[in-house]
Amino acid sequence: MQQTVLKVEGLNKWFKDKQVLHDISFEVYKGEIMAILGPNGAGKSTTIRNIMGIIYPDEGTVTFNNQKEIPRHKIGYLPEERGLYKNVKVMDILLYLAELKDYPLDKAKQRALHYLQKFGLEGKENASVEELSKGMGQKVQFIASVIHEPELLILDEPFSGLDPVSQEIFKEEIRSLAQKGTAILLSSHQMNLVEELADRLFMIHRGRKVIYGPMNEVKRQYANFKCTIRGTYHSARLERLPDVERVEEEEGAVVLYLSKTVQPALWLKQLPDDLVIEELTIDRISLHEIFIDIATDRNQLAEEGVVHA
């Protein structure tokens, strides 16, 4: 049985007359990476701020290791709206933030140096924050959020504004933290990264839960197979094949969206013999596509998800 670190139950929040969170419930287990996904304004940051006690929910509870009181020094938090004091040294601000978490300063200093080195910021500890590039600043903020060895780490859009190299570094670090037992709650709208990282996900749209479950299950349930064929074909004939729900043509390629019950091996055998294939791929619809479908209300999925959930 997995150990529940964070439990969110029945969060409701109104801003003026507008309800921004509708009955949000989820859990984060020890050593797992749990992702909150959703388009801009879906309520991700609001949910996280409720957890952090920066704003208070109108209804619902947040418990940490079954306690109502949230021990702030056991939580690391990287907010979406983030920055650092200018005019101060990198080491000074890291130590200050560690001090606010009641973390021993000598240990904090060691960890800070260790992380600076890990993130390629060796020798920057005495640099002023102003001198850092945006990416470097983000790295320092990340260090600040993990310097006190939190049990629960909440990362709100950790990858925004990062170059691919830095993204990789962050991804690796997040994974290794989870392996060491940190419970991680991650919010993002970069689906490919989430798809790679997260063990479980919670998709939120307009303040409501859309999908919640382990990544594989979600994919199995919502991500049907699609077959992409590059070559010479008659789209009309392909459309008449069994289990094809939708056909989309992109430059020189056709994408066949297959039904949920399709058996890929059997289905492939039914392809016409005269089909000239230059390239053929069959895979599941990516999380990215599911996300776009939901965000743009193009698919039935959104409502379906609510009903099934």
Binding site: Y77, P79, E81, L97
Partner: protein
């Protein structure tokens, strides 16, 4: 409270290491000093411009010594000499000389009350008024020649004085009699010196209160607030800022006072230290500190509503002017330190610290009832202001990218 002290320590260290703060810390008193120095420079040059006037006296009445003595007593910038030149020669002489004057003290003084004066080119413009000081000894001599006794002389030369006795004075007469000696000067100095010192303290901590304003708004601009608030409560952050900047203000005050004391000891002969450390100082400092807390709460709250100091709206600008409110009262208070306007000023929380300091420095008898009422109003205002600021700060500090309107602020306060 422990967290608030951590914040205070951080804010203090962060600023004390900051170059612009350090420059401001020492530059302001140095600028003051520089102005004083330049001022005295101009003073000196004005004096040196007035060159010594050589005054030759053609004395036929034997009054030279008396006149020279009078000149000495009035410290006139004169060189006095006797001369034998007659008026014809003098007429010639003044054509070719500078800074020179000739006085003819002879029979004409007694008979016509006239002393002919011949002045050369470029004589000091003040000379003709300076020369009037010689009137008294000449008049005395003239009357003596007319046969008046010394008593009669004293009576006449004393002139007539109009002595006023108002109703107030009749009441106070009893007390006053004892005070009309050196102790009066002492007590004025005593209150003034410690009052001025407390004024400097108030001013420098109100200025550092303005740093809070900037700091709260900078916190939003740098978007660092949410990171901090994941560790501590908004209340702790606010208290920490207020305490931290209070300490910075005290540093500023100490530096300021150090400069002021140095100058005072150098320029004035009086023993300032003796007048500075008096019991009154405690009350003055209390008023100054209360004033700080009032403005600190105001500024930290309003600062949290602003995205950027440079884009402050009218509302925020108005708040910024509040510390200068006491200046409106300065004129009326100096005219009448216990008048109606002075009283009103002491009871308005935002002007009360400044007005109280000014009044108490001027007044001999402290109106204790008024002081206590004013302090009570001040303390209550501080408590209310801190509460309001806490509410505004909590919401405002997380509102990014725009200034809050007064309507929004009102909503937060009621929430």
């Amino acid at each position: 409270m422990r967290n608030a002290l951590k914040v205070a320590k951080w804010e203090f260290r962060r600023n004390i290491k900051n170059k612009s703060f350090l420059i401001g810390l020492f530059l302001t008193p140095i600028i003051f000093l520089a102005f004083m120095f330049f001022g005295s420079l101009f003073d000196d040059s004005a004096e040196s411009e007035g060159e010594t006037t050589r005054v030759f006296i053609h004395d036929q009445l034997g009054l030279y010594d008396t006149l020279a003595e009078t000149v000495e007593q009035h410290q006139l910038n004169w060189e006095v000499h006797l001369t034998d030149l007659d008026e014809e020669a003098v007429r010639e002489e003044v054509q070719y000389s500078e800074h020179t004057a000739y006085l003819f003290v002879d029979q004409r003084a007694l008979e016509d009350s006239i002393i002919p004066v011949y002045t050369s080119e470029s004589i000091s413009p003040h000379f003709m008024s300076q020369v009037q000081v010689l009137e008294a000894p000449l008049k005395a001599w003239q009357m003596k020649q007319l046969g008046l006794s010394d008593e009669e002389l004293a009576l006449i030369s004393a002139g007539i004085q109009f002595q006023e006795t108002s109703a107030d004075q009749l009441v106070e007469e009893g007390e006053k009699a004892t005070e009309l000696d050196d102790s009066l000067v002492d007590s004025i100095l005593e209150r003034a010196v410690s009052g001025i010192a407390a004024g400097i303290v108030l001013l420098s901590i109100v200025f550092s209160g303005m740093y809070i304003f900037q700091s709260a708004s900078q916190e939003k601009k740098d978007k660092v607030a949410e990171i901090i608030l994941s560790s501590i409560t908004p209340g702790e952050l606010m208290q920490g800022k207020i305490i931290g900047y209070f300490l910075l203000g005290m540093v500023q005050a100490v530096v300021f006072l150090g400069f002021a004391l140095g100058i005072a000891l150098w320029k004035l002969d009086a023993n300032i230290l003796q007048y500075l450390f008096v019991p009154e100082l405690i009350l003055f400092l209390l008023i100054a500190v209360l004033g700080y807390f009032l403005f600190a709460a105001l500024f930290v709250g309003v600062g949290a509503t602003m995205a950027d100091v440079t884009t402050s709206g009218n509302f925020q600008g108005l708040v910024f002017m509040l510390p200068f409110l006491p200046f409106i009262f300065i004129g009326p208070i100096i005219n009448d330190p216990s008048g109606l306007i002075a009283k009103i000023g002491s009871f308005i929380p935002f002007s009360s610290p400044g007005v109280l300091l000014l009044r108490l420095s001027l007044l001999e008898e402290w109106p204790w009832v008024e002081i206590i009422i004013a302090l009570a109003i001040l303390v209550i205002s501080i408590v209310i202001m801190m509460k309001l600021a806490g509410k505004i700060f909590k919401t405002g500090i997380l509102l990014y990218g725009k200034n809050a309107t007064p309507k929004e602020i009102w909503k937060w306060i009621r929430a």
